[in-house]
């Protein structure tokens, strides 16, 4: 019976893994990239150079908003930080009764400012933020559907991890076993090593990922105690109630001293955001929130001031155990608290997960190829999996490289420029899919991987030709961000190039069934 249990778990692992493997692969790739979303955004807006001290920059941003958006319902300011040198502002226009909702574009209600409160002309791009949102919102489809789809995939992942652990009898021994050049055995080793390498990370990241959208996937815990989600939120965040606009004008207190008060109260933590409701009105409030890197918990502390007098009128309520746990779980997933060392560890674990999912997908085909009735003419399902593997594993990275290239090559004045950067990603991805279908199987692997490698290698070159910040000047001026980005692109190019070379040299002679392969069939 014990072996029967393991076998049923092996089957569960195989099929849950396959069904959502491609989506999980895409989630791993974009999620991993998102750990550097701020840095990617900076690279994609090379116009931003100088950074400024946060308090004067925030005051300057308020001056700019007062002169351009005095009637807004609220202003939202993100002061410059170590990871983003610009001041980002957006505002909520006041809704006038009787006037229809105007469809707004992003640029209409946001701006990027420098330390003196002047608009910086940056190219229109969604930067690293797009990769972050794709991780759970996907693209070209309603956000809600995407989130359900992603949630189901994450649940499959959780089951695949659990059944994978049960299937796997020699976790410790296999971690030291990576046999190269042995076909199926090597793929199984690669899958096992990458899986065991960061197993706690995968369990953590999958579970906390589900938790980030838990009230969407599992709303019944709230339904059991509250008549509606609104009453729940009103109970949990009583401070979020809107303040009525009085219509009596009153000047806003200077924000610098308030930021100092908050920083002192929070033991020197930086201010992550400044929100001003009803600006210019007697009822104005200023809400300061702690920077995300000051604590693991995603629901950081906040402090509310009366906008006119600058008196403290509220602060984030102390959280109970369950809420604090949720906040920490979400924080662990997003990793916004992480410093450089930990951030790289997150990134490497993410790459490990990407390889784990990718090698698992390839393993599915390698394992079945040997057992096909006629290996030269496989059935439709098998061919579909083979081709989709190529499209997923080579196609998305190729798309991301193109996304970076488009950022440098599309004219800056182009209409819907940011959208076209994104379209270029999907056009490349689609092209690789078509190529994978049209070409002979093994050639398709080699060519797609080589293309991906070439696209990544092109990024530093195109960057050097189009933007004054490149590898060479980076070396001389210590522009670490551009230096690191170029190096990362070259490493990716090398990695995909190596994969293409390997795929080209693989001997595809049908192997005889040995004792080893029979053993693996059970694994």
């Amino acid at each position: 019976m014990k072996d029967g249990f393991r076998q049923s778990m092996a089957a569960l692992h195989t099929w849950t893994g396959l069904l959502f493997g491609w989506l999980l692969f895409a989630m791993f790739v974009t999620g991993t990239a998102a750990y550097f979303q701020e840095e990617i955004s900076r690279w994609m807006r090379p116009e931003l150079v100088a950074t400024a001290p946060p308090a004067p920059a925030t005051q300057a941003a308020i001056r700019w908003l007062q002169s351009t958006q005095p009637d807004a319902e609220s202003w939202f300011i993100t002061p410059p930080s170590a990871r983003n040198p610009a001041t980002e502002v957006f505002w909520q226009p006041r809704i006038v009764d009787g006037e229809p909702h105007a469809r707004r574009r992003r640029g209409d209600t946001s701006a990027t400012l420098d330390g003196d409160g002047r608009v910086v002309a940056v190219r229109e791009t969604r930067g690293g933020f797009f990769l972050y949102r794709f991780h759970f919102d996907l693209h070209y489809m309603p956000v809600l559907w995407a989130r359900y789809l992603v949630g189901i995939a994450a649940m499959f992942m959780l089951v695949a991890i659990l059944s994978g652990i049960i299937t796997h009898k020699k976790i410790f021994a296999d971690f030291f076993m990576l046999r190269f050049g042995k076909g199926q055995r090597s793929w199984l080793d690669a899958h096992n090593v990458t899986a065991v390498f960061a197993l706690p990370f995968y369990l953590m990241i999958t579970y906390t990922g589900l938790v980030t959208l838990a009230t969407l996937y599992m709303p019944w815990g709230i339904t059991a105690n509250y008549a509606s989600p609104e009453t729940f939120f009103a109970d949990v965040f009583p401070d979020n109630a809107e303040v009525a606009h009085t219509g009596v004008a009153a000047p806003l207190a200077p924000v610098g001293p308030l930021m100092a008060v908050a920083a002192q109260r929070w033991g020197g933590a930086a201010i992550g955001s400044v929100q001003i409701a009803n600006p210019g009105d007697r009822s104005a409030t200023i809400t300061l929130r702690q920077a995300a890197n000051s604590a693991i918990g995603a629901r950081g502390e906040s402090l509310v001031f009366a906008g006119v007098t600058g008196r403290v009128i509220g602060s984030s309520a102390s959280q109970g155990g369950a809420m604090a746990t949720q906040s920490v779980m979400v924080g662990l997933h997003a990793g916004r608290y992480a410093g450089w060392g930990l951030r790289w560890l997150y990134f490497l674990s993410g790459i490990g997960g990407t390889i784990m999912v990718g090698s698992g997908l390839v393993l599915w085909t390698v394992k079945r190829r040997a057992k096909l009735p006629d290996p030269m003419r496989p059935h439709f399902g098998f061919r579909l999996v083979e081709r989709l593997n190529i499209a997923a594993i080579a196609g998305l990275p190729a798309g991301i490289a193109t996304y970076f290239l488009a950022n440098r090559l599309l004219p800056t004045g182009m209409t819907e420029r940011a959208e076209w950067e994104i379209h270029s990603l999907f056009l490349t991805w689609g092209a690789v899919l078509l190529w994978a279908i049209a070409r002979p199987y093994r050639r398709a692997w080699v060519e797609s991987l080589a293309l991906t490698s070439a696209l990544f290698a092109a990024v530093p070159v195109v960057n050097a030709l189009t933007v004054p910040r490149d590898l060479l000047s980076g070396l001389m001026t210590g522009d670490w961000l551009f230096l690191a980005f170029d190096m990362a692109m070259l490493l990716l190019a090398l990695g995909f190039g190596q994969a293409a070379r390997k795929a080209a040299t693989v001997t595809s002679k049908p192997r005889r069934r040995t004792r080893e392969t029979r053993e693996m069939a059970a694994a």
Partner: protein, 104 residues
């Protein structure tokens, strides 16, 4: 190949074994998890908001546990009997808890 492994009986019973398990795991498992989470949210000795969140945080572990159990069970008939029994028990408990008031 999954079919061959999970069950030995022949013919019709063998053919519906896997679909019944999948249905039981995905739909039945979600249903039972939802009821368990709702019950937990009402009986945990915490403030209502805290109890709701605590139960929600545990939900995915409960769901995953149920799925693994369903695929490891020997007979699919027993799986469904268990699912129904647990659902009835939890549903009844929830109904009673809502009927007798307390929260909400």
């Amino acid at each position: 190949m999954a079919r061959k492994r999970i069950a030995s009986p022949q013919g019709f019973a063998a053919r519906i074994n896997l679909p019944l398990r999948v249905l039981g795991a995905i739909v039945g498992g979600y249903g039972v998890t939802s009821l368990a989470v709702a019950c937990l949210a009402r009986i945990l000795p915490l403030r209502p908001a805290e109890a709701s969140i605590a139960a929600t945080l545990a939900s995915f572990a409960i769901y995953a546990g149920i799925i693994v159990a369903i695929f490891s069970a020997r007979s699919v008939l027993r799986v469904w009997l268990w699912l129904e029994a647990v659902a009835l028990l939890l549903g009844g408990g929830l109904y009673w808890s809502i009927l007798t008031g307390g929260r909400l």
